[in-house]
Structures are given as structure tokens and as C-alpha cells.
Assembly symmetry: C2
Homo-oligomer: 229 residues x 2
Amino acid sequence: PGKKVLIVYAHQEPKSFNGSLLKIAVEELTKQGCSVTVSDLYAMQFEPRATRNDIVGHLHNSEAFNYGVETWEAYKRGGLSKDLVQEQKKVQEADLLIFQFPLFWFSMPAILKGWMDRVLVQGFAYDLSKAYDGGLLQDKLSLFSFTTGGGQEFYSKEGISGDIRYVLWPMQHGIMHFCGVKVLEPHICYAPEHASEEKRKEMLTAWTQRLKTLWKEEPIDCSPEWYFK
Amino acid sequence: PGKKVLIVYAHQEPKSFNGSLLKIAVEELTKQGCSVTVSDLYAMQFEPRATRNDIVGHLHNSEAFNYGVETWEAYKRGGLSKDLVQEQKKVQEADLLIFQFPLFWFSMPAILKGWMDRVLVQGFAYDLSKAYDGGLLQDKLSLFSFTTGGGQEFYSKEGISGDIRYVLWPMQHGIMHFCGVKVLEPHICYAPEHASEEKRKEMLTAWTQRLKTLWKEEPIDCSPEWYFK
């Protein structure tokens, strides 16, 4: 109660299974007394491309454009574009970040990757020697909630698609842990498009149930052992 | 000689180190008698977002938008948007795909992820039970060539960022191998921004040298053992 949650949501269709998972999270967390904000990336037509447009006014070095340097400098002087400032404000205020999306090619859809690329700039999310446990987004939790196209049988150490944890490494460790954000167990719904109506309902109920006790969960140990042991 | 190469390039600045690597590849491969095509994604203002705009004309199911289903159906009836058809044609003709980019957050920049999400649709790149060694893009090679921000010392099994091969799994295995494309050893330039001018020149020369004997290389064994052994 009183906790702030930002849900970054990347699906085009409200009637999709991802849309249902989003709706459940908003309802259940609101019922608990949390304050919930949703960044609905497709609806916002969120820009995924990292370009010069992200910097308002003059460039630090207009001779050769370096996105990392320019956004870092722009952040320091308050010169990032308005859409980025708004997203950073939401992140800053949140106690928990939930990412809700369909797995696309063993990773996030490009629109969500663009959110990571553009919002989590140096100075805001990390800095020189302020990364991983020293990252700048301390005292926050994150949770990756996603659906897959393939069934769970493909995602095992022996399966053709490998352990599902392999695909979590870049997202959970490489992004969230890098910024100092703690990581809760991911929430994975396997192949809802090929599941029976009954199985789909079970998956939705499981998400509701998990959210009820979410705040009692301990973060995972976000180290190579968790992913590759 | 006579081989066709598509370079998918994702950097905003021609004067960047990535720009130099691109230039070297174009020059060296052209010199060998290869036909080289470049998709310069930022210059093309390539759209990374997977939306309804990718389908020309009517939807298969306009009640609930499903990107995977809609692009599959549109592919079959020749109804994908023009920018996708152009990229697919380039892929179809290529013997070798080179991806040249700076590593962003343990992965590709969003604009390049969007190229994967939108171009490699079902029916074109894979199909029902036509994936991995049976993927539809047979007899092609791929090569991921990228720069990192952090130094090589961070990217080891014991390093805080883990073995660099961990981040290659989603890109090489999850995308290229899934589509039936064979994978050459990646080409990684560590932290060129923090390297001396001499070291940078060495890295550029190494790329030229590698390209000279590229067609004699054997693909890697793109299995979990290569990545996580």
C-alpha cells in the first residue's frame, strides 16, 4: 500500500493476452493501494530510435555525433527531449518497474528495447564506476513479465531453444542489475496463443495470485550462477 | 568473387568507429569482387516499431491485431509494406549478412532489433516446423560485428559482465540459427572510444585482414556448448 509501480507495456492490441496481463496487474495493484502508472508504448507511439532529436539545443560535439556522450551531457544540463524526461520521472518515482511484453526473437520488441536505450542514459541510470550494485537506480525492484510463442518444452537446457534464463541475462543482468535495480523472478506465460481457454484462464489467475504476495518476494541473486549454473 | 553481401548497419555517425568498420568492409569486399549492399538504418530512418502499418490493405482479423499472424498472412498474399519487401529482397539475394553496430545494453540498438522483428517474418524466414537447421534462409552466412563500451576485461566468465558469448546467444542462435542461417565467429572491437589512436588503427587493420580470408572460414557450431560450456 502506497507503493508506486510503473508498468512499461509493449503490445499493440488491448484484447491480447498481454493486454489481459496488463489489466490484471493494474487492477490488482490498485486494489492493494499502490499507485500504478502505465507507459503504453505503442499507444504513445514511443520513438525507439536513438538519434540527435533526443537532445534539445546545441550538441556537445557537433563534428561527430556520439549518442552516449550527447545524452549524458544533455542529461546534466537538463537538455533531453521531453518524452525522455517524462519517462525518467516515472522511473525515478517508481518502487517497482514491471515490463510486460511478448518475447520477440529471444528478446524485447524493438519498441521496448528503444525505451531502454533512450531512457536509461548515463548520469540518470548509471555513471562512471556507478554500475551494477552501485548503479544509480537504487531501492527499486523490476519484474519481466512476458509471453512466448514456443511452448515450455523448447526452453530447457536440453531443448533446442535453451534454458529460458539464457535470454533473461541481457535484460535482467545487463540492463536492470547494471542500473542498480533489483530483479524479481520473471513471470513467463508459455505459448498462450496455442493454449486452451481453460489453460489461458489458469495462467491469468496465476498472475493475479502472484501479485497478491509480490511485495513479500525476495529478489533473485542476479549473478551468472542464476542464469548458467 | 561474385558473392553478394548485405551489411545492415546501425550507427548514426559516418565518422564513428562503426562507420570506419563499415567503410572497410565495403571497400575490401568490393575489391574482392563481391557485390555489396548496405542498409544504413539511421540514414534510411528505418521504422523499428511492429505495427499495423506493416500490412497493406485488409487485415486477416481486424477484431484483435496479432502482429505475427498478420505479417505471416500478408507475406503469403504479397501484402507487406514496401520497406519490408525491399529488405527481404536484399536478404534473399545475399550470401552473407553482416550486422555492424555498437552493443547497446547487452544487445542490438533498437533500430536494428526492429529490422529483425519486422523483416524476418513467418513464411519468409521460418515457418511451421521450419526452424533452426530447417529454417527458410538456407545457404546463407551471417556475421555479427560490433563495438562495446566496456573493456574486454569485463567480458569474461569471471568478469562482472560475464562471457561475451552470453549476449551472442539471442542474436546468433535465437535469430540467425532459428532462420537456418549459418553463423561465422563474431567480430568484436572492445571499447574503441577509450583506446589509443594506435590501438584503434590496429583494430581496423585486424578487420581488413579478417575479411581477406573470410570466405575460407567455417561457421561456428551454433549450439549451447559454444555459448555456455
